[in-house]
Amino acid sequence: MKKYKIIILAFGTLVLFLTAEPQENLTAKQIVDRSFKATKLAGSEILSTMTIIDDKGRERVRKIASVTKLYDNGETEKRLIRFLSPPDVKGTGLLTFDYEKRDDDMWLFMPALRKTRRIVSTEKAKNFMGSEFTYADMTPPILDDFSYELLGEEDVNETSCWRIEMIPVNEDVADENGFSKRVTFIAQQDFVIRRAVYYDLDGELHKELSVEEVKEVDPENHKYRPMHMIMVNKQEGRKSILIVDEIQFNPDVKDEFFTTRYLERY
């Protein structure tokens, strides 16, 4: 009888193993790679609200409309952001060509001056729109820039996640991304990040990102977008909230949106 028990147990384990989701065997790096790809949308139209809160609880609210589209087989994402409110910055536009392998190109158009300024940005660690989100947070980084380690599994808001540590391979990468270590919680069901803890260049706890809501925007290709992101700066006590009010998957966004000519047409 003892023998049977062992056989049944072994068989049971095997069945469990086989029927479990296929990503069980993924390495940390593969998980992160899939997570980067899970949010890459061929094209989209978005209305969102950015709330920037300082350490005394004072708020700055910006409503923005944006369109995005992937080019070069997904290696380049072009984005056009237009400010809708407050009234004094209404019409201000930001055009970004986000390249995978080199520094981004950025242009800002200021309607009150009818002038477009090129923004030279080599640092992805810079804060976006004065918020706690950095440019690095807005777009997935280069996969090979980091080493990955699967630390375990943990639930975040009742979603089971992998807990993965990302460490920049060298100091230049750390400087560029603005962190020395990031612990990321990636959901097993959709590969979207649910939580991330950032450690600054001195190794101290710096920021914490929580993703409250995720939406499958492109069901055909299983592409997702976070709808509600909160970034808390644990050192300065500031906080930024980015909420997507409306999102429309659209791979056929007009190419002419992504030109400085269109940027200035306001």
């Binding site: 920037i52 300082d54 005394k56 004072r58 708020e59 700055r60 400010f83 407050p86 009234p87 004094d88 910055v89 209404k90 201000t92 930001l94 950025m106 800002l108 200021m110 309607p111 009150a112 001056l113 300024r117 923004i119 030279v120 940005s121 810079k126 804060n127 976006f128 729109m129 004065g130 918020s131 706690e132 300065e236 500031r238």
Partner: protein
């Protein structure tokens, strides 16, 4: 705005929107707390800093008063202030406090002398040399344009404390001599040749001690030394020349030998 060749260089843009959009441009590549010390978070109040290249509180007061006057009815101006304002306020406080502490010092010393010699006249007489040296002190400060600051303001109080010694020494000995039967003139001569010597040596050692400060290269210390020397000298002159003369001329009652009534 920031480039020299550009139109509108070194100027604030004309419209509110342009300013807001420049802020937005900056925030695209700056740190969120870059402007923390210059403007508040909702961009409602800014800190405008002006540099006053003067140390004169009079001029500072003038500038601050004019500013306050001009912005009196402006709802948008929260506060006019800064280090210059603090400095001028401090100077006012020191000068006003000066008069109070001077008056108080003379008053207290006078009361003490009245108790010591059991006479109101004693208090009044000993206040005379003090009043003269205070006048000398402030007069000289005025002539040499020495600023009344925290250090020099303390001087007059120190001077009252040190200067009154000589008068007390003199009066005490003089009364003793009178009681032992000498007349006023003889008593003055006796006192000056005995206690008077002690007083002179005392004063000289203080004076020479403070002369050392005159070699200082730090101006406030040098002024301090100079003023101590001058005021101690004037106290000495008061105690050794003025007081004896008054004793001879006025023959105050408290110094006269007490008649034993039978």
């Amino acid at each position: 705005m920031n480039d020299k060749d550009e139109e509108g260089y070194d100027r604030i843009p004309d419209t509110r929107n342009a300013v807001a959009q420049y802020f937005e441009l900056y925030s695209m590549s700056g740190d969120p707390d870059d402007f923390e010390k210059m403007v508040d978070f909702p961009y409602e109040h800014a800190l405008l800093t002006a540099r006053l290249n003067t140390a004169s509180t009079k001029k500072m007061d003038h500038v601050i008063d004019r500013l306050k006057e001009k912005t009196k009815n402006d709802q948008d101006v929260r506060l006019v202030g800064g280090f210059g304002s603090i400095l001028s306020e401090l100077a006012h406080k020191v000068v006003n406090g000066q008069f109070l502490s001077l008056g108080l010092a003379i008053f207290v010393v006078g009361i003490l002398l009245m108790i010591l010699f059991r006479s109101v006249t004693a208090g009044l007489i000993s206040a005379i040399p003090l009043a003269i040296s205070i006048t000398t002190l402030f007069g000289l400060m005025g002539i040499f344009r020495i600023e009344l600051n925290v250090a020099t303001a303390m001087l007059s109080s120190i001077m009252i404390g040190v200067g009154v010694d000589y008068t007390i020494h003199f009066l005490w000995r003089f009364r003793e001599e009178r009681q032992s039967g000498l007349d006023s003139k003889e008593a003055v001569i006796k006192t000056l040749t005995t206690t008077g010597r002690g007083i002179v040596f005392n004063a000289l050692s203080v004076i020479f001690g403070f002369i050392a400060l005159l070699t200082s290269s730090f101006m406030p210390v040098r002024f301090f030394g100079f003023l101590v020397v001058v005021s101690i000298t004037s106290c000495l002159i008061g105690a050794l020349i003025l007081i004896p003369s008054l004793c001879i001329v006025l023959k105050p009652k408290f110094l006269e030998p007490r008649e034993i009534r039978v």
